[in-house]
Assembly symmetry: C2
């Protein structure tokens, strides 16, 4: 979660129980009064200094592992750094079919990983965690729901295996914006969900059936700076530095107020817009200097290009009511 | 040019005669002592406040136009803002075949555009400018050179047309990193070149024949954070927030020190690396926590993801000798 204000909405004002993907975010949120933070990327020894600082200052800071080499390195570094009465909380990442990371829940070594963490004096086994990122590459909502059901079944099944082996599993977590937006029929056995993109949604989630156009809460605002009737294009002063280069194949998102237009290309500081259906552009409708609004292909990537989010009270407003700082770096 | 230190190298220490693509860059360079700055994006009325501030503080600040509507808006705004003894310098952008922007050099209205700027009391016609961006989408160096020759011929030809019409053309500019790296046989009639990417080069320029691997002066440093033999992948703690998502089709760049590896996927804060030839990865060579170096697909995009450049004295060094701040925003 890259803004304090967004994180406050996501946690219902509790300022607890939030997942991050960088240690910079963890510190940013801790500075903002958050606690109970999970850093959900496999932990390596080089990050121990920052991890120890967060462990010391927070009531609950949790890291993730998915491989014996990470656990071995971690257990070698903890003596002298962590007190036995405040062990380091560790969740185990599990692969539910995405195959990006996570231990293999069908491999006996994964049970041994949990056993090692459970037995070690200086770690507290905090739960199991999975992320169904493969829900982004599907043709329809039914497939998203099937992946969501499989995500649940894999992680709840693995928790059952661990419990049958006498190992405690305090928390079972699932999550990805598609599978949380179109969840399975039940979530029995699941304790928490940790999607992120749903805070803004975007054109990708719209196409996945995760949201409606009205649910997309972020826009990149740009201006028309040139007219080129010969190539049937407009030039805008937004390039990939403003909207990111993601979504090239599908127009870099959509233009909700001018759906007759589409982005043909984004360069560094400018972009080419053409008509969606190939018809000649009526240039009088888009004077030089006028605004166009982009609903991004990937809101995470577009907002990352900026240092701040300018918040409007209503979609029609041009008055900025709040400015949210975006956490940068690592 | 996004760093003062890079700009100092590019201008041979003169701190004059530099091209920018945002007004934020122009102010950043002006703050750093630069003068004679060209803002090479079509100018629209909304940017006049910043343009006037730069015009006032600099000896020479130049804007670009390529359409009569921009000129009309500009001429309407200048009275009272610009003194007749220091008119606003304006270059005319010309399309040399890229078809992103620039006026059509074969259209008589383009001559009229220059005539209007020449006759106006408050503007000084400063020259013609083109950018052969289509040199990025070519199969070989011979095609780059052909585009470079055409770029020259179009802009020098248009300057000739203007001069034949009695209009002064103080400067004739060309440029793109491919056409400047593989220039045509001669550049007669050309006064300046304005490439940018050549400062760092990258894997794209390598594939275009603009540079060698050793010429690529920028790396994104990342660490191995996970081993996944079942999918024959490594996880790295660099995602598109660290390297940009550009170049997905071709491995997001290359890994010069470990060419047997390739990036299969970049997610927000992590990436999947696999073997380049599909052979099983020898994981012992890439321990968890060890470094990998990425030579980016597009150095402009990768560096834009960061706030600073950490400069090493030599490629083998790990000691940071300088930290260059990157200009952000617009």
């Amino acid at each position: 979660m890259k803004t304090l204000e967004g994180a406050a909405i996501a946690t219902g004002g509790t300022r607890r129980r939030i997942t991050v993907s960088t240690l910079a975010e963890a510190s940013f949120l801790a500075d903002g009064g958050w606690d109970d933070i999970l850093y959900a990327v496999p932990l390596t020894p080089d990050k121990m200094k920052d991890v120890m600082a967060l462990h010391a200052r927070l009531e609950s800071f949790t890291v993730m592992v998915d491989h014996p080499a990470q656990v071995e390195a971690l257990l070698g570094l903890l003596p002298g750094r962590v007190a036995p009465d405040k062990p380091l909380r560790v969740v185990v990442g599990v692969d539910c079919g995405y195959h990006r990371d996570g231990c293999d829940p069908t491999d006996p070594s994964s049970v041994e990983l949990v056993r090692t963490l459970t037995r070690a004096q200086l770690t507290a086994m905090a739960g199991v965690y999975t992320h169904a990122g493969h829900s982004y590459d599907v043709p329809d909502v039914a497939t998203v729901e099937a992946i969501a059901a499989a995500e649940r079944d894999v992680i709840v099944g693995f928790a059952g295996t661990l419990r049958a082996a006498g190992l405690a599993v305090p928390s079972v977590g699932v999550g990805s914006t598609p599978t949380c937006s179109n969840p399975p029929a039940h979530l029995t056995g699941v304790d928490e969900m940790h999607p992120g993109n749903y805070m803004y949604y975007d054109a990708t989630q719209l196409s996945l059936g995760s949201c409606t156009l009205d649910d997309i809460a972020v826009r990149v605002l740009t201006r028309v700076v040139g007219h080129y009737p010969k190539s049937n294009t407009l030039l805008i002063d937004c390039g990939w530095t403003g909207a990111s280069a993601q979504g090239k194949e599908s127009g870099y998102g959509c233009l909700p107020k001018t759906p007759e237009l589409t982005i043909a290309n984004l360069k560094q500081e400018c972009g080419e817009v053409t008509s969606a259906d190939g018809a000649p552009i009526d240039y009088a409708r888009y004077p030089i200097g006028s605004f166009l609004e982009i609903a991004p292909y990937h809101s995470c990537a577009s907002t990352h290009q900026h240092g701040h989010v300018h918040v409007l009270e209503t979609a029609a407003s041009r008055e900025v009511s709040e400015v949210w700082r975006i956490c940068k770096g690592w």
